[in-house]
């Protein structure tokens, strides 16, 4: 019987049916994968790789290691207590000469200037003088050329440079830095700006999320309970701004809120104020414009959840003797919570990354983490700092998206 069964299952070419089916199935999967492959490669190379490199740049900096190879090698044996010995200074002189000749001194000075502000120009000028040195002893000569080479903090910075990885940029992003002898200390108050900046980003995001919920919930309720012919009409008023470019809406707010803008002129014509109020380039402008842009993002998930709540529930509660508010609060409201959670979380995540709107309608005290990332990239050219701040923002965003995904499901993101 067993041999019979095996014979039946064999095709004329002698291959078991099961193997054949698996092979067909595998080929089908491969074909499906080949269809996805072009986009997968495109996203991996054009998007994931750059993002990964940026994350890597947040902890990786080999400027000193590659541009001052002799000094960093000589320093690996240094105990960090007293100044290094003559041989290290000789290595330093050699590195400075080479850096001067290869015009790489600027990069070294810039790197040292990040951690010890103001020393960059002194380091460069000392390299110019050191480039003429021909013989030792180097230690006293270099310290005489420029006293920076007798400073403990400069040497401990160079010693840290012998590793290609540094937590410096991440530490700096939360207002910590290295002290003179290499221990981690809080940044001095005049440069400790990042904790404030993160707190401000959080405060603005929470504020905007709360405002959108406050304004969006009643409208979502109205849209969900009105008959379709009215609600469709009102829905256009929600969806049209949602579809209008972010830049256009920000422009509209600039026109409305500026000193001689529509709102100020209107309030003055009504004699409600005697001189133009400052509505833009401050927190008011930022909050108003961001709330306007984010409102549909909070409103639409709440609306779609409310659409699924049968109106019978409220009527049942009322007929059982509940008052109108009690029925709403105990029966209707708890059922809207998934929508509230989804909408608020989405708005909060999107708010964290705002850059354009605060830059256009906010003042200097309304700039969020996105603006700082842009500032360090385009103006300060401090890519390590830009990467570290970016890495923190990205990690926060992805964690929140993970929560969002567990809560709602990415597949349910819909448009329109």
């Amino acid at each position: 019987m067993v041999t019979m069964a095996v014979q039946i299952a064999r095709e004329p070419d002698g291959m078991p049916l099961r193997t054949k089916l698996t092979r067909v199935e595998r080929r089908r999967k491969l074909r499906a994968f080949i269809l996805v492959l072009p986009l997968l490669l495109f996203i991996l190379i054009g998007f994931a790789l750059p993002i990964g490199r940026m994350m890597f740049n947040a902890i990786h900096d080999d400027t000193l290691l590659t541009l001052m190879p002799r000094t960093t090698a000589a320093l690996s044996a240094w105990d960090g207590k007293d100044l290094p010995d003559e041989s290290t200074y000789a290595a330093l002189a050699e590195d400075l000469k080479q850096a001067w000749a290869q015009r790489s001194m600027g990069a070294i000075a810039k790197r040292i200037n990040y951690e010890l502000p103001g020393l960059g120009s002194q380091i460069t000028s000392s390299a110019r003088k050191a480039s003429t040195l021909s013989a030792g002893p180097y230690k006293p000569t270099l310290i005489e050329i420029n006293p920076v080479w007798g400073r403990q903090d400069v040497w401990s910075l160079l010693k840290r440079g012998s590793l290609a990885y540094t937590p410096y940029y991440l530490l700096r992003s939360v207002d910590y830095q290295y002290g003179p002898s290499g221990q981690i200390v809080a940044s001095p108050p005049e440069t400790a700006i990042f904790q404030d900046m993160f707190l401000r980003t959080l405060a603005i995001s929470i504020g905007v999320t709360a405002l959108t919920l406050l304004l969006g919930f009643p409208v979502a309720y109205l849209l969900a309970t009105l008959p379709a012919k009215y609600s469709n009409l009102l829905m256009i008023m929600v969806v049209l701004p949602f579809w209008t470019s972010l830049l256009v809406r920000t422009v509209a707010w600039v026109v409305l809120l500026q000193q001689h803008g529509v709102i100020n002129e209107m309030l003055m014509a009504l004699h409600m104020i005697s001189q133009p109020a400052q509505l833009i380039f401050n927190r008011i402008g930022t909050m108003v414009a961001m709330t306007h842009i984010q409102l549909p993002f909070t409103l639409l998930p709440i609306y779609s959840v409310m659409k699924t709540i049968p109106p019978i529930h409220i009527r049942a509660a009322r007929s059982l003797g509940a008052g109108p508010f009690y029925a709403f609060w105990k029966v209707y409201f708890p059922q809207t919570l998934p929508g509230i959670a989804a909408g608020c979380l989405l708005t909060f995540i999107l708010c964290l990354g705002y850059y354009i709107t605060p830059a256009m309608v906010g003042g200097p005290n309304d700039q969020m983490v996105g603006s700082f990332i842009a500032h360090y990239t385009n103006e300060e050219l401090n890519w390590g700092m830009a990467s570290a701040l970016g890495a923190i923002l990205l990690t926060a965003t992805l964690l929140l998206y993970y929560v969002f995904n567990k809560l709602v499901g990415v597949d349910r993101i819909k448009m329109g």
Partner: protein, 276 residues
């Protein structure tokens, strides 16, 4: 639930208060867009009502001044290239992903649509570093590739949505009747997913046409797009031409919104899905 005779006065009060709040919020949503369109026809370069007269001079400046015209051409060129590229890539990927029991579908989907989740300023900085290394900074190609990254997820989402509930027996029937795979695709699959593809293409076009952060970071003045020109214009001093440009973009979004909605209805009709 209209206010009826047997409700208590407090309830009636709440009913009208709710309506009033909703009216105010809806006004807040729509007013900025409605207010600036008439201002673009103002005959004097001020942004207040009442307007002394009407004029098309700002539109004339927008469509004929070389600064704006170059920006408009650049925007259209970049957006059309992005649309072609991302629709092709996105549709192929969506077709693959929608095959039954595709391995690691959820994980792959998350990766493919991640560009719309990562804050755009991070994408811009990361691409800036990367493009600086590979020499794509300040090139049209770089800008097109960057915008394609941002736009393709929308195509993947819209085409995948059209493919859910796609009746695979249709393609099997066509194959069983002897049609080769290419014919099956063009004669059976394509007409059914076309509404989704067009929606996705419109989204892709809109994404590129509106995008300003990437344009600021990785392109130079030579590749300036419409949003970039508007952005730098607002930073200096807001001119009526910017309002005219904004109005044109608003009309564009209205046209797009209408088209996508019509396509969605057509697609649902084609696939026999009834609105419940």
């Amino acid at each position: 639930m209209a206010a009826s005779t047997y409700t208590s006065p407090i309830e009636t009060g709440w009913y009208y208060l709710h309506r009033l709040i909703c009216a105010a919020v809806l006004l807040f949503l729509i007013a900025p867009i409605l207010v600036i369109i008439p201002l673009s026809f103002n005959s004097v370069p001020f942004f207040t009502y009442p307007m002394p007269g009407l004029s098309l001079r700002w539109y004339q400046e927008f469509f004929f001044a070389s600064q704006w015209r170059v920006a408009l051409y650049n925007s259209i060129f970049v957006a059309v290239s992005v649309t072609l590229l991302s629709t092709t890539l996105g549709t192929l990927a969506a077709l693959g992903l929608s095959r039954p029991n595709f391995p690691w579908r959820a994980a792959l989907m998350s990766l493919l649509i991640s560009p719309i989740m990562v804050p755009v300023v991070i994408t811009a900085v990361a691409m800036y570093f990367f493009y600086a290394d590979v020499g794509l900074l300040n090139t049209y190609l770089g800008l097109i590739l960057a915008h394609t990254t941002m736009a393709t997820p929308f195509v993947v989402i819209t085409v995948t949505a059209t493919l859910t509930g796609f009746d695979h027996s249709l393609t099997r029937a066509a194959a069983g009747l002897g049609a080769p795979p290419v014919t099956v695709f063009f004669k059976v699959t394509l007409p059914l997913i076309l509404p989704g593809m067009i929606s996705g293409a419109l989204f892709a076009f809109g994404t590129s046409f509106d995008e300003v952060v990437l344009a600021l970071f990785i392109a130079s003045v030579d590749q300036r797009t419409l949003p970039r020109t508007m952005f730098s214009g607002i930073r200096e001093e807001i001119r009526p031409t910017i309002i005219a440009a904004a109005s044109v973009l608003i009309l564009f979004s209205i046209a797009m919104l209408t088209t996508v909605e019509l396509l969605r209805r057509r697609s649902e009709r084609l696939r026999g899905i009834r609105n419940t």
